[in-house]
């Protein structure tokens, strides 16, 4: 029986993967051919979705993007034996886009059946957990610290130090919370991992529990991700039944319970303290820090909070050693980052590379330039709170420090490309508007500042006392940066000020008759 892989990743489904899977099955039945369709995660070559792969003696052969109407011609081209077809890309592993990557966190994603424990183990799964079960909590924290792993959610705080703080705290109950509220536009790595290789995240969280003495974990997933929520719930049930979660994990005497919690459409709940409030069933209002969540977090107990990709990096660190992970990257940014190529880009998808790659390499070598074919004018890096980087800075190396030195941030590694039709004054206005919509309302600079920001930018666009209003905008941005309680208000000025700084011509257009909507 030939194995045919058709992803059930949400992005693949959005391009018709379900219908393609049924069409292939129907076509095989019609021809009396025996095929087994496996619903894998995505390989991350999202521009080729639905990417259908066939297992042959030479390896897996890729075809994409496959539409329902291509099913018959694929069989006629003998694709079950890797036959030539206009949608063919040869061996998947040899596709340049994939071959040039350094996949650690996403090593299994798109390759295995996401819910098969046997396949997960056959591809190195649970080796990290096995190593962790032989170590003391303090030693696990030490390994993670030495690996140089920094929080992949955007802030870049050293993960091992956070874990050590929770480990050293004394409490009757501790928690591990995974922030899977991936609300930033241009990011989808968390979603892809949860759908394509959920066991890796669960293994990482379990190791965090063992390291810190926490016995209960929560994965907080945004409601916009129904597929990821369903897959994580299934994955937890499978691992409970297989003895990798729950009481007495693999006979070790260690226990770790895990539950999924669903967000409710509030962007702010991606902020860690707001997420804690939401996990407690409350409004997602930001908490002042201190106390830090590592000491007083969920229900007031010591809590590890990390992003999906931070937890998912941990199994490799435990199984291959801190040194192995450290050897990737540059400066103080160690390991790999799954970059997400999005927006106006020809070959959008996920590119996992060591830190140090440049924006231009991502845009041109991987992305193949803009989707529209027009020149790229700006790239927003790190989500709605990240800077707009102008073309003159595309050669900047992607690491936390280089970006920070240039007034930008790597964040979660999301890259949104804009071509030369973009109006940067509108983008700056949107940044303020988004903050006004999504602010939790706790602190004044964010709650009021964002509303005033929209008004000031409207006046600038309308040409009303432009120079004076640019000064007001700058002052307002400074107040928001310095005075906001969390990154929402504190970083909204980043896209705004970068737009003003790098694209001043867009803020100096002839006044239009009707400016405000």
């Amino acid at each position: 029986m030939t194995r045919v892989f058709v992803p059930d990743d949400a992005a693949a489904l959005s391009m018709g993967a379900d219908k393609v899977a049924s069409a292939l099955k129907a076509e095989a039945d019609k021809r009396n051919l025996n095929i087994e369709i496996i619903r894998n995660g995505s390989r991350g070559l999202l521009y080729l979705e639905p990417l259908v792969e066939v297992e042959t003696s030479a390896g897996r052969v890729a075809y994409g993007p496959v539409a329902v109407k291509d099913a018959a011609s694929l069989f006629e081209a003998d694709f079950l034996n890797g036959g030539k077809h206009r949608l063919g890309h040869g061996l998947t592993e040899e596709i340049d886009y994939l071959k040039k990557q350094e996949r650690l966190t996403f090593a299994r994603c798109g390759i295995i059946d996401p819910l098969s424990v046997a396949e997960y183990k056959a591809h190195g799964g649970f080796a990290g957990l096995a190593a962790a079960l032989k170590k003391s909590g303090a030693d696990i924290c030490k390994d993670v610290t030495e690996s140089g792993l920094r929080g992949r959610g955007g802030a870049g705080f050293p993960t091992g130090i956070k874990w050590k703080t929770v480990h050293d705290a004394r409490a009757d109950q501790k928690y591990v919370c995974c922030n899977a509220d991936e609300g930033d536009s241009g990011t989808f790595a968390d979603r892809m991992l949860m759908e394509g290789d959920p066991f890796t995240l669960i293994e990482g969280m379990t190791i965090a529990g063992i390291a810190t003495g926490a016995t209960q974990g929560y994965v907080y997933i945004r409601s916009e991700y129904p597929h990821a929520i369903a897959k994580m719930k299934q994955a937890i049930a499978v691992l409970l039944a297989a003895g990798f979660l729950g009481d007495n994990i693999q006979g070790s005497g260690k226990s770790f319970a895990l539950a999924v919690r669903t967000g409710a459409g509030a962007y702010i709940c991606g902020e860690e303290t707001s997420m804690l409030e939401s996990l407690e069933g409350k409004r997602g209002m930001v908490r002042p820090k201190p106390p830090i969540p590592a000491l007083e977090g969920l229900f007031g107990k010591p809590t590890v909070i990390n992003n999906v990709l931070s937890f998912a990096a941990v199994p490799d660190i435990l199984s291959h050693g801190a040194e192995f992970y450290r050897n990737y990257g540059m400066g103080r940014s160690r390991g790999t980052l799954p970059f997400q190529l999005a927006g106006n880009i020809r070959q959008g998808g996920l590119v996992e590379k060591a830190f140090g790659i440049t924006l231009r390499q991502l845009l041109e070598d991987f992305g193949g330039g803009t989707f529209s074919g027009r020149p790229a004018r700006a790239i927003q890096v790190g989500g709605p709170l990240g800077s707009y980087v102008p073309a003159s800075q595309f050669d900047m190396a992607m690491d936390y420090e280089t970006f920070a030195a240039n007034g930008a941030m790597v964040g979660h590694g999301g890259i949104v490309v804009f071509d030369d039709t973009v109006d940067m004054a509108r983008q700056a206005r949107f940044a303020m508007e988004f903050c006004a919509i999504e602010s939790c309302g706790k602190c004044t600079p964010c709650r009021i500042g964002a509303v005033r920001g929209v008004e000031v930018i409207d006046r600038i666009i309308a040409g009303v006392e432009r120079d004076k209003n640019l000064i007001v905008l700058d002052d307002l941005c400074q107040t928001m940066t310095e005075g906001s309680l969390c990154a929402m208000g504190g970083l909204t000025p980043m896209p705004v000020q970068s737009a003003v700084k790098h694209f001043p011509e867009d803020f100096d257009r002839p006044p239009v008759a009707k400016a405000a909507e």
Partner: protein, 163 residues
């Protein structure tokens, strides 16, 4: 037969859902999600019932319902269309798609068409940014949506429902 004070059907549902969640206040958001899945929205009348059942104040429950964008205070149309308005979709002419959707449905964001068939909602990121613009129809994700695809998807959605 003893008669208990009559509870509205919605309130009965609310009490059932709370009890399935152990009447725990920290599960309030899960409770509201489940209730909205069943009833299509969170009616004003269930707020005091939930508050009493899980031992919170009405103000606290009201506060949660109104804080989160997901929770609806009124019934939605038979289909819910969510169009992404965030940066990645903006870079791929997402605003043109929004204008087309509003014009073709004759409804703005947050509104329901006159025949009650479709509610149009804005959403900020569906995690399909490599295939922008994105939209979600009744939980089904679609990528690379332009005006033509929007029309196709909508006519498919509405004709499926008619069958």
């Amino acid at each position: 037969m003893l008669t208990k004070p009559e509870l509205s059907p919605e309130s009965e549902r609310a009490r059932d859902v709370c009890s399935r969640h152990g009447n725990r206040p920290d599960e309030l958001i899960e409770i509201l999600h489940e209730l909205q899945d069943e009833l299509g929205y969170v009616p004003e009348s269930v707020i005091p019932v939930i508050a009493k059942t899980i031992n919170l104040s009405r103000a606290e429950v009201h506060g949660v319902v109104t804080f989160y964008h997901d929770f609806r205070r009124e019934p939605a149309g038979r289909h819910v269309v969510k169009i992404c308005r965030a940066e990645s979709c903006q870079s791929m002419a997402g605003e043109a798609l929004c204008s087309h959707a509003k014009a073709s449905l004759k409804a703005g964001f947050g509104e329901t068409t006159a025949d009650g068939a479709v509610t149009l909602e804005a959403v900020y990121c569906l995690g399909n940014c490599a295939l922008s613009p994105a939209m979600m129809v009744d939980g089904q994700l679609h990528g690379r949506v332009d005006a033509r695809r929007f029309d196709e998807i909508m006519s498919e959605t509405l004709s499926e429902a008619a069958q």
